[in-house]
Symmetry: C2
Subunit: 330 residues, 2 copies
């Protein structure tokens, strides 16, 4: 089993790489090679199989990023929401031309006699727009309210078509807002959904740019990794032409997130300051806060745990590493 | 009123140009310039305003194709269905990179202080898939069964996002199969829907690759031109983020098309030979045969005439010109 992770230096890419390194097998087969590709050279996890780490531009994807015999590609490379909104050309280049480059790399593998690789693509809840009270069914139309979402939705179409043509075998997962993210705040408009839990648990202040009753569709890093790994190993025959799905996240108001945090660490939410940010609110305000996710459940994607468990898992998996990184940088 | 038609040498582009030339005004304002752009230099209609005809590559769209002060752009340039299926790179280049080039040309106009131009884009029924018995509502999800449809659906997303960003003011119309097309059979998988009427009316044989009860969502060239001109002049405020619509075509079985033809010219359908073509049937078999089109009707798009009127209009508008072209070429 040969696996490539494009965007392998990002936080989900690293978590997938760590898990593969720990388990040594994937989809019931021994892993014989893992390639991590990112803008900057990703760190290699300690593994019982060869790990190759490469730096480069996704649009000029080198052949070594998806070597001959690649079975599964996790295509996580992206320019995130606020950044794609701020820099149209950069978002279009990475999120669309980058996806074309992945298609072309798969075409080369198939042209050389290889099997169409499974491609697991991280699309986003941001490819939809809806009000706070809507619950979107699986057939809901994607009407994005931001360039990131538009580019992700367009990429889904391109990957589904590439699958139909036999260039690859794609599964696109429209990830909820992944919360609690480790590390530092990033340029995603959704960054604060993690900061309001991560920063107080580090003893630091965080800003909340939306009202407490603002609802959001979230998933934990653990669940996101489970879903991506399931998407890479599942039988896609039942998917037909539609290679995309909305996984079973949870709908939660930010105020409930703070209460769950206080349940785990009393008083933490006192570090959260309410500072309205209309620009951020405008972007995240168009994202739907709930999905039925029936298709994903039928396809074997595991349901989500309650948010209090998400807080506990962050403390268990990421709090100390995040603290060490912050201390090392300061 | 300055107007550009990209794909101005195609049959719809020429019909729009002829109509604008005849009327001299558009959306209540005098036309001050018309630019026709295509791969090969399009013919100029006789007009009471300046007409510029340019040849070039849509991906390297020259500034002159959309000069300063352009109010309305009809973006009709495309690689059609069977061709996009046969040549993936060509379809992607023209249908996606070409659309990016139109976005960039609009950005240049806006950056130079101009108003975001209205862009009327011809998307397609081929961006959906459905069974013969489905009637798709306006909120139906696009799940294309062919590369042409996937590229059109992706282009719709890109144009809607460009509108939200203020680069342009787009209206994408998912045209039904336009029937009866003048000229010769082309590389569209849907070409036969026109051939089975046009060729017999010219006294020539035509092949029907699908069964007589095969239903299709069609519109006449007259109605397509009306809709495109309405899209270029209408108020888009009510459209919100969703810049696409399915216009009110008609659902008809090919056998009914032949009966309508016989009603106008008795015995014509005797020239139609049934020759099953699984490749063509596979492409057109995934296109939905009916839409509710409520949104388009509410936005002022005119309803469709019965098919017998379509046959009569073809005879009135296009039969002699098509005959002359054929004779000149032979």
């Amino acid at each position: 089993m040969k696996i490539s992770i494009l965007g392998g230096g990002g936080f989900l890419g690293r978590k997938i790489a760590d898990r593969l390194a720990r388990e040594g097998t994937y989809a019931g087969r021994p892993i014989t090679g893992l390639t991590l590709f990112d803008m900057h050279q990703p760190p290699a996890p300690a593994a019982g199989f060869p790990v190759t780490c490469l730096a480069g531009d996704i649009v000029d994807l080198p052949e070594a990023a998806m070597p001959a015999g690649t079975d599964v590609v996790f295509h996580l490379a992206a320019v995130v929401s606020a950044q794609a909104e701020a820099d149209y050309d950069l978002g279009r280049r990475v999120n669309l031309r980058g996806t074309d480059a992945v298609v072309d790399a798969c075409r080369r593998l198939v042209a050389a006699g290889g099997k169409p690789p499974r491609v697991v693509f991280t699309s986003s809840v941001a490819s939809f727009s809806a009000t706070q009270t809507d619950t979107l069914a699986d057939g809901a139309k994607q009407i994005p309210g931001n360039s990131y979402g538009a580019q992700k939705a367009a990429a889904e179409l391109i990957l589904a078509d590439a699958s139909r043509r036999g260039f690859m075998d794609a599964v696109s997962i429209r990830l909820p807002t992944v919360t609690v993210r480790p590390g530092r705040p990033n340029k995603a408009a959704s960054s604060f959904f993690s900061s309001i839990v991560r920063e107080p648990l580090l003893g630091l202040e965080a800003e909340l740019p939306v009202p407490d009753d603002f609802a959001v569709w979230v998933c934990s890093p653990r669940r996101a990794v489970d879903w991506l790994l399931h998407a890479g190993a599942m039988d896609t025959a039942a998917m037909g032409l539609d290679r995309s799905l909305s996984p079973p996240g949870i709908r939660i108001a930010v105020g409930e997130m703070l209460r769950a945090m206080d349940e785990v660490r009393q008083g933490s939410s006192a570090l959260v300051r309410r500072v309205a940010d209309p620009a951020i609110a405008a972007i995240v305000g168009t994202w739907p806060a709930a999905f039925t996710a029936k298709r994903a459940l039928a396809l074997g994607f595991v349901p989500h745990e309650p948010f209090v468990d998400v807080v506990r898992a962050f403390i268990e998996d990421d709090l100390e590493a995040t603290r060490r990184e912050r201390n090392a940088a300061s």
